[in-house]
């Protein structure tokens, strides 16, 4: 669907919307919660992303409400948006799995080297 990966804030916005339609402030708090407070979106960044995602057909408006005299617009993930998020999640998951496997081998290799060095030292002492 796309040639390159999506950026983290976009990924987190789509992840927030995967749970169901949310309004702007709800997305901001949900993104902070999903990322363990590591990513805190501001309004300018959020609405730049929402505008782009709406133009690309990834996100759409679900409904509008007036709460305390203020407009509250709920956004939802579209079917292509869900597809995009699924593909990106699979890609990240595959990368994470590859990294974990290699780190495990790396750790095993390092432990083996330590053991071999220890054995060599013991032989030398004998």
């Amino acid at each position: 669907m796309t040639k390159s990966s999506i950026q983290e804030p976009t990924f987190l916005i789509l992840t927030a919307l995967a749970a169901g339609p949310q309004h702007g402030y709800g997305i901001m708090t949900d993104v902070a919660s999903i990322s363990g407070d590591r990513v805190r979106l501001r309004a300018g960044t959020l609405y730049a992303a929402l505008d782009r995602l709406r133009a690309d057909g990834v996100v759409d408006v679900d409904r509008e409400e007036i709460v305390d005299g203020r407009l509250r617009r709920y956004y939802k993930l579209t079917p292509p948006g869900a597809q995009l998020l699924a593909a990106e999640a699979a890609r990240l998951s595959a990368n994470a799995k590859a990294a974990t496997n290699r780190l495990r081998r790396h750790a095993a290799g390092a432990a083996g080297m330590v053991r071999a060095a220890g054995a060599a030292m013991a032989r030398g002492a004998a």
């Binding site: 040639k3 990966s5 999506i6 402030y25 309004a43 300018g44 782009r52 203020r70």
Partner: protein
């Protein structure tokens, strides 16, 4: 005024960085979110919030500019440009030639008439059958006009606006023929009224060289030229399908710059003296040429890949 009212007013002022269309869609919603996320009692946006809104506004403006440049009507605008430029230049040259016949001042010579006419007329005719070869021919002709410009002007700041105009027209012609469907498409888009506007503009350009004895003040000459260009642009825009005119006018503005300088020089009767000031007037032309070349590159790239990478980021 209470704290929230002051804060809202300041947020609204920051939202002015966004394009009007974006504000119409999101401003009320953004104000709600901004106020909901601000700590109570705050009267001013934090520097981080202000920077985020300014950055978001500039990003939205750039995105709209990018959309304007990526519009699918660009090839049509360039196709019309590939015909419009030769029509204007050839009509102007024809008026000059007729002026020589009627006034018996002497007929225009090889370098004044036949070579420019041939250089500008040949590429679009060639493009009816061999478009890539026509683009190369226009590029070669542009180089041919550039050579004396560079050779005789050097770094002195002296540029003949007429030759600079030919140069710009041929360069734009080369770009237009390289990335657009070319004259065949233009003939479908252009109606008789478009032809009439283009011929009128060309005739007026040719007629200006008769008016050197008017010796108008520079400001009046400049005003006349600007008023005429605005009238032509408005009239031309009314004869073409929506989306095409703004892009076509940007393309035509590149050779229109030197042509306007040349015309002002004639209307003031100080053509020779005016030339020494020409170079600074050509700077916006270079900028426009860069913009059109960037757009042409984008059109070419989109056509080549046919897979817009829209969803990234």
């Amino acid at each position: 005024m209470n704290g929230e009212g002051a804060l809202e007013r300041r947020f609204r002022r920051l939202l002015a960085w966004y394009p009007a269309e974006h504000r119409r869609t999101y401003a009320e919603e953004m104000i709600g979110v901004l106020l909901a996320s601000a700590p109570s009692g705050r009267k001013r946006p934090s520097p981080a919030e202000a920077l985020d809104l300014i950055g978001g506004g500039l990003q939205a403006r750039l995105r709209r500019l990018g959309t304007w440049f990526a519009d699918p009507s660009w090839p049509d605008a360039l196709a019309v440009g590939s015909v419009a430029l030769p029509v204007i230049v050839l009509t102007s040259l024809a008026v000059n030639y007729l002026q020589g016949v009627v006034t018996w001042y002497g007929l225009a010579g090889l370098s004044d008439f036949y070579l420019p006419a041939l250089a500008i007329a040949l590429p679009p005719l060639l493009a009816l059958r061999y478009r890539p070869a026509a683009a190369i021919a226009a590029l070669v002709a542009a180089g041919w006009f550039t050579f004396p410009l560079v050779k005789y002007s050097g770094l002195s700041g002296y540029f003949d606006p007429l030759e600079a105009g030919y140069c710009a027209a041929l360069l734009v012609e080369a770009i237009a023929l390289a990335v657009s469907p070319g004259p065949r498409r233009a003939l479908v888009i252009m109606g008789w009224r478009t032809w009439l506007v283009l011929c009128t503009a060309g005739a007026a350009l040719g007629f200006a060289s008769l008016c050197y004895h008017w010796a108008l003040p520079t400001w009046l000459a400049a005003l006349l030229v600007i008023a005429f260009l605005s009238a032509v642009a408005t009239w031309l825009a009314a004869t073409l399908p929506r989306q095409v005119p703004s892009r076509l006018l940007l393309v035509l503005a590149i050779p229109a710059g030197p042509a306007a300088v040349w015309t002002v020089g004639y209307l003031t009767g100080t053509y020779a003296a005016f030339l020494s000031y020409t170079l600074p007037y050509l700077a916006p032309d270079l900028l426009l040429a860069c913009l059109v070349a960037a757009m042409a590159w984008k059109v070419r790239r989109r056509e080549a890949t046919k897979l817009p990478d829209k969803l990234a980021g």
